[in-house]
Amino acid sequence: MSYLKFNDVQKDYEGVRAVSHFDLGIERGEMVALLGPSGCGKTTSLRMLAGFVSVTSGSIFLDGRNITAVPAYSRNTGMVFQGYALFPHMSVAQNVAFGLEMRRLPKAEIGRRVTRALERVRLSALADRLPRQLSGGQQQRVALARAIVIDPAVLLLDEPLSALDARLRHEVRAEIRQVQQETGLTTLMVTHDQDEALSMADRLVIMNQGRIEQIGQPAEVYENPANRFVAEFMGKSNFIGGTVVEAGRFRCAASDTVFSCDTSRFTPGAEALLSFRPERARITATPPDTISGANVLAGELKTATYLGQSIEVSIATAGGQSFNILLPNSDAGLAAGLQPGSALHVSWAPADTRLLPV
């Protein structure tokens, strides 16, 4: 059995199901991110693991022990709270020492471990400050030190970066990941930010409306989304509704155009949703070579928006569908020459095409 295991866990709030059939196994030392829009049940799941929220049905196992009914204060989980939740009347060192005092460790050992934890997050110089005298980033690191110093069975991060400004967020996420890897702590993180999840976690759990939509490694989830929700939540996607004609062939319902793609998950005649990522498509003024076997759509330019790193081009087909294509900045010259209304061809490789259930 996995080191940390949610076994068909469910949570009802006054008759409303907040989390349903939550099944997840996490291996020792792994960092997993629960990712989803607000209200998807990710925070509830984390809080059930911490013991702040009771489980309606199912069970949670941590290191071989059923902790479903164990009170929060004896679960040995270390949590970094969204607003850090530092004790305002205690100094940085006292904050970090609190968990060790509760474990009734000898004073000398507490001192030693607090010093080491503060060194790890580079806060030794601020040990005597009060939380309100620290910047947001520093408070964040105190919260992290306070959670790791107790050597928890699992480290819990609840939206750890949401209170930081964009520039700092980048820095801190690398730091958290580094601390996590150095300490080898099994970590469960909750976030609504896909960049955060992609860059920090070994595996992602995409959640929506209390259910798990997909579990997988970052690249796997992004490249092979299980369904439309995941494809849209993880970045942007273009969708075309239609049916599978035969193995490897898909026909668009609106325009009767036929596209090539992997149809192995579907039987001929099945309805499906074709999708491709905006950054995987190219645009050309003339139809591309058919020899390449690329999928092609014809349309006209609606808008081209300069985004710095890339240029977002919006294209409308004769059938009234619209598609977004993301061109790299190096194609800025091409985009600059385009006028709204210009006829264009969008092409992308069959290998970059995904077929999703409707």
Binding site: F52, Y73, M79, A85, F87, H89, F98, G99, M102, I150
Partner: protein, 268 residues
Amino acid sequence: MKAHISSWSYRALVFGTMLFVVTPLITVIWVSFFSNKLISLPPQGYSFTWYLNAWRLDDFRGGFLLSLKVAVVATFIGLVIAVPASLALVRGRFPGKSFISTLLLSPMMIPGVVAGSAVYIYYIQFELLTNVQLAATFPGLVAAHVVLTIPWVVRLVTASLVGANESIEEAALNLGAHPWRVFWRITLPSVRPGLIAGGLFSFIMSFTDLEKSIFLIGPGSTTLPIAIINYLEWNLDPTVAAVAAVQIFLIGFMLIISDPYIKLSRAF
């Protein structure tokens, strides 16, 4: 527009109000040092005689000590009852919450004379039924004063709790603190301003209470405000001013030492 008002009329208004509030206090303190036998202007000289006289009179010394004792005990009991009540009112979810909240705050809205006579009648009925005497006893007086202190503690501690971050209690639980230790180490310190302010106001309310106590004291043991009233019936020398001045000093001193811990503007 507002800036114009603030120029002089606003300042005059503030100054006038301050003067109105402070003048009686200053006058009392001033008069307490007069050497006149009767309270009258102008002073014929200054002396400490009246302070010594006040301490020499049993009624004042005994009244002061009784008031102090009642205020300390009532404040302590009030805190013990009202702090958990405030926690339940802010954090708990149960039916009839707003009713209980109103009930706990209601002693603030009832005139002391009415409450005093009501408590007195209740004590007498209680005694008739159970043969336990409450009226004219120390426990009876304290119990009535506890009712006086509860709304202040509830109000001020509740205000502190609403402003406090609830997740720090979860953080303490998460770090292995038993709920009981969370309360002592985290919750209580985080509401300290409300606790101190609530305790302080409770003490002042109890220490200066006249209307309620007048129904409940026994012969030979009066509280300080009642001793003052009794004394004024037959005397008009500055002893009363000296007693009042001591009261003012005591309360003023408590306000000053507690000032660093409480932000009164935030509590209300």
